[in-house]
């Protein structure tokens, strides 16, 4: 992690502060993935970020305070990646949008397992305050899934609870893989996850056709 040059560098205090804060957040995420929540200390975070302990406390009240900021940052990054991938496909091509979103999600978690760890594993074990954030984060993907989704052939519209269960089920699958340390091969799950997400709206046969077509 690159530290700013010592002494007069002509950078505004706001920039330096922001740079430090970002480095501390990144350092917490990485340390958490290596050491787990209990063993992570302010000293470890500071060392990894090349930020002094006193500077740490200028940005955060405590390890927990830094953790919350890091958690929110990780969720934003994951969500942003999925939103961007979906936005590149027109709403009229719903299956393609969903595929783009799922591929982007699993791809990101595979190459940045520390992000996956804080949101889907360590975060859940850290305590009560986090679960509300986790639930809100998972639920925030439901509108992305439902946007432009068709009604199933010859049946009534899909109730929101079904898409909530789809998103919750995908979160559970990913969480179990992360806890098991199996993030490298997440991209291989795209066809399964895609079929699962498409089936309520396209019917199982319709979803299978899309998957077989590649």
């Amino acid at each position: 992690m690159d530290r700013l040059p010592r002494g007069r560098h002509g950078l505004s205090p706001e920039f330096v502060a922001h740079n430090q804060r970002d480095r501390l957040i990144s350092a917490l995420i990485l340390t958490l993935a290596d050491a787990g929540y209990q063993k992570t200390t302010v000293s470890m975070i500071g060392r990894r970020a090349s930020v002094s302990k006193s500077d740490f406390y200028r940005h955060f009240d405590s390890k927990d305070d830094c953790f919350l900021a890091a958690y929110d940052h990780a969720v934003d990054r994951i969500r942003g990646t999925v939103v961007d991938a979906c936005a590149a496909i027109p709403t009229s091509e719903w299956p393609g949008r969903v595929q783009a979103g799922i591929a982007a999600l699993l791809g990101l978690l595979a190459i940045e397992p520390a992000l996956a760890t804080i949101v889907l594993a360590e975060g859940l074990r850290a305590g009560r305050g986090i679960y509300d954030r986790y639930q809100a984060a998972v639920e925030s993907f439901v509108p992305l899934l439902r946007d432009g989704a068709p009604d199933p052939p010859g049946a009534a519209a899909v109730p929101p609870a079904t898409d909530e269960a789809v998103v919750g089920g995908i979160a559970a699958l990913l969480s179990r893989r992360v806890v098991a340390g199996e993030t490298e091969d997440l991209a291989k799950l795209v066809p399964d996850v895609l079929e699962f997400a498409l089936a309520p709206h396209l019917g199982t046969a319709g979803a299978r056709r899309i998957i077989s077509a590649g």
């Binding site: 269960a165 998103v167 089920g169 699958l173 179990r176 799950l189």
Partner: protein, 201 residues
């Protein structure tokens, strides 16, 4: 006074006290969470002596795990009973009956359910492992009951159980355990619809 009271067998009294301690742990965890719950709270709520608790359990964690195991066993028994009442070749009716029994159990035992679904994943590493093992067992059960076909997604049962658990967990977290049975129609549709067209592939 005690001359007219019938003598209950020792084992019955011991089992009853054990049950009270387990129920007290469930209630207290539902009210204030695992971490905030102390042995002193449990013995007070269960109306047992501290010695009695330590005769039965090595400490708070062992009692918590016993509460988890007992609740899970009771839920599984309710599910098995419901499935056995259904004709054996009707997998859809069996699955719906099992789901209905599970949601009925949640409504009847909201604190114990909350201990298993909400507290256990985060309380201790041992309880998190219990939770994952129970999850695996539900996945295996669904796989046994539901139709199989070549090329079916290997992760189907995992995502279906994950989704059902998500919905029930959310309901329990928001204090709506008593209304859990209302989730049955949509949950049953969610769990069974991927298998319905199997014959037509």
């Amino acid at each position: 006074m005690s001359a007219t009271r019938p003598q209950l067998p020792q084992e019955f009294i011991a089992a009853h006290k054990r049950r009270r301690m387990i129920d007290a742990m469930s209630e207290l965890c539902a009210e204030q969470g695992y971490e905030a719950t102390k042995i002193a709270d449990v013995v007070r709520r269960a109306h047992v002596a501290r010695k009695t608790l330590y005769d039965n359990f090595s400490g708070k964690e062992e009692l918590f795990l016993a509460a988890f195991d007992t609740t899970l066993a009771d839920a599984e028994a309710a599910i098995v009973d419901a499935c056995e009442a259904v004709p054996t070749d009707d997998w859809q009716a069996c699955t719906e009956a099992g789901l209905g029994a599970l949601l009925g159990f949640v409504a009847a035992h909201p604190e114990a359910t909350k201990l298993c679904l909400v507290e256990a994943p985060a309380a201790t590493p041992a309880s998190a492992e219990r939770y994952e093992t129970a999850f695996d067992a539900f996945i295996a059960r669904l796989r046994e009951v539901a139709p199989q076909w070549p090329g079916r997604p290997a992760t189907l049962e995992e995502t279906l159980v994950g989704g059902a658990v998500w919905i029930v967990q959310r309901q329990v977290r928001r204090g709506g355990g008593a209304e859990a049975p209302e989730l049955l129609p949509e949950l049953a549709e969610f769990v069974t619809s991927p298998y319905r067209d199997v014959g037509k592939r």
